[in-house]
Amino acid sequence: MKNTITKTIAKYHKDKTRLMDILIDTQEELGYIPKEAISQIAEDLHMSEVDVEQTISFYHFFSFQPTGKYSIYLNNSVVAVMMGRKEVASTFEQELGIKFGQVTADGLAGLFETSCIGMNDQEPAAIINNMVFTRLTPFRVKEIVRDIKEGKPVVDMFRASFGDGKNASELIRSVVSNNIRKIGPVLDPFYKPGEAIKKIIKMKPEEVIEEIKRSSIRGRGGAGFPTGLKWEFCRKIEADKKYIFCNADEGEPGTFKDRVILTELPRLIMEGMVVAGYAVGATEGILYIRFEYKYLERYLENILQKAREKNYLGKDIGGKKGFNFDIRIQFGAGAYVCGEESALIESAEGKRGEPRDRPPFPVRRGYFDMPTVVNNVETLCSAVKVILNGGEWYKSFGTTESTGTKLLSISGDCRFPGVYEVDWGFSINDMLEMVGAVNSEVQAVQVGGPSGALIGPNEFNRILGYEDLATGGSLIIFGKHRDLLTDVVLNFTEFFIEESCGSCSTCRIVPTILMKKLKKILNARGVAQDIEDMTEWGKILRASRCGLGQTAANPILSSIKNFRHLYEEKVQKNKTFDSGFDLNAAVLESCEATNRIPNI
């Protein structure tokens, strides 16, 4: 073990800011990060052991205990549950003879839960030793467990065909499907890599920024900040070094469009980073990808290498003297909050992914305190198209306030879940028709993931756009037969509780209090006042440091706003107060421990 770790540390030049990579490799080699490994890493990197431990403890896919030769992480997102996760989960438990959170006695397999893994259009899905298994059924689970017991490597476990497009290529060989249903300027399959680079090297960086500004394109990661302005800010700050981050952390439940771009158009992403680098004067790019997409690593590294060979990356790009830019890939290790731009940077520096206080914003003080542009995958891809065709052309798509197109990740109760590129300004009604959902059977649509809004049929004429329903592109459709409060609102609230980084007392505490109230109402112990309390108390969350906490009450608040009757049906009519306390349940544990019969 000592040698393996020494090698790993050497691979990353004993650089403690690469702690994430060192830990990812160690976890992969050993199946966990044992005490001795922590000591050795701490010593070699000249860090304290607790500093190493605090990074480990932050991320879902790092573990202090063995996670099994086969580590199975079954997604527990809303859509997974809708598509039959329960049976899949219990089959895993039965076949392996363990419960979730446990490892088999012989150390062969470990079974764990995990938040949305970006496969909403092909649920239920699981990650086993970094490979993704989609559309699981009890039958398929039995096959998988049989293979595990035979000791087959995960790559040999696929029986059925591989996924579409590049998923089947030699360096990926995954069962994941792209499900691209509608293409537009960004997903255009006739894209020729390198054209934009050839074009910009004939322009001044300021002209590139002007063109981006002319397009009025805004960030696609959710917050919608004007991209041209962001680049201009960064350009204007004097600094020795600047960085471009491409945010491919894609953790908002229900989004998976960045995964599809990473699979089908990685060169477009890289070109977008190069364009951004040229515009702001950055020399290094970091493509931060969520751990769940690790199965794309070899494929992406290979493409980076090819780009270097073609001089699209490296020194004097495209023959332009002094235009130097290279990209490295940084994987996360399982933490939704790392998608927040300052947490993303912290994580890439090898630390816990806790958001920073802002301001200063990353454009001023980002990676290693240097000016840093963080952009979503789709933003950078769109920027390339703006450069190729002009800002005016780009504005011919979409609406005045929301120019261009948007990639939507659509899942849930519809015939054709998948990725759709549409003009901004598309209405929910049109969207439902497009994806083969029968309008009269749709109860609700979640727009923008858990942090967005849950809307009902009376609002289906609203449009997607910054001026109305702003969204990072996640749309989840719920049929009439779904129990919105239990299956959706509770699940989303638990997601935020699980993913909170814990820095702010508001975000650490209030969502749990709200969840307890919600559970009380679901257990028929709620009263009308509880609905008022949740509405009022949810407001406290606005004081949180980052968007996660600020929106953590949205599932509850927006369902109270738009589906109030679901709550009112469940509260007790004849009572004004009920604490929900259950003495019988509360004494059960101690009576079992002392062998007593409860006598209340």
């Binding site: 107060f577 604490s579 929900g580 306390f581 003495l583 349940a585 509360a586 004494v587 059960l588 544990e589 101690s590 009576c591 079992e592 421990a593 002392t594 062998n595 007593r596 019969i597 409860p598 006598n599 209340i600």
Partner: protein, 182 residues
């Protein structure tokens, strides 16, 4: 008008909050002019003899007995006040909340360093004993609480001011010194 009736109790608390009530010093003479005491450790009345106006609760609920007493208070008192950190948040006793009850009991009666003489390896389980709850609950998670007086213990002046305000119906004065955190 007859004097308002006050009752007090200590659940899972350390009696520090009651000490703080006594800390109002000579104002205690004024207090017994203002109010009549019913069930309370201060006068050692063990059972409610009539309906009360104000109930002061020290401590949270750690066992079934605490819950019964608290519910009894709710039934007998018009206004219930959570007095001090333990009643409001569970306080020090709630430090066991992260540990399974079985482990707590085993530590206390079997494995703890200071355990001596328990040769029979017995965890007390006489039916007469109150049953421990799975965790220590703040009072408002069990019954409706009307007011909260924070502090560990709340200062005597705060208790005094709150009682006087309640009895006279005047608004309570809350100057900055009283609500600041440090």
């Amino acid at each position: 008008m007859s004097k308002p009736i006050v009752a007090t109790t200590s659940l899972a608390g350390c009696f520090g909050c009651h000490m703080s009530v006594l800390d109002i010093d000579d104002r205690i003479l004024e207090l017994i002019e203002l109010v009549e005491f019913n069930k309370s450790p201060i006068n050692d009345i063990k059972k409610f003899t009539k309906k009360c106006d104000i109930g002061l609760i020290e401590g949270g609920c750690a066992n079934s007995e605490n819950v019964h007493v608290l519910k009894d208070f709710r039934e007998h008192c018009k206004i219930l006040i959570s007095l001090g950190e333990c009643a409001i948040m569970g306080g020090l006793p709630a430090m066991r909340n992260g540990i399974p009850v079985r482990e707590c009991l085993e530590e206390a009666y079997l494995n703890g360093l200071t355990v001596a003489g328990n040769t029979g390896k017995i965890i007390p389980n006489d039916p007469e004993l109150p049953m421990l709850l799975d965790k220590v609950y703040p009072c408002h998670e069990v019954v409706k609480i009307d007011y909260f007086l924070p502090g560990c213990p709340p200062r005597a002046d705060l208790i005094w001011d709150a009682l006087v305000a309640l009895i006279t119906g005047d608004e309570m004065k809350l100057p900055y010194e009283v609500i600041k955190f440090d």
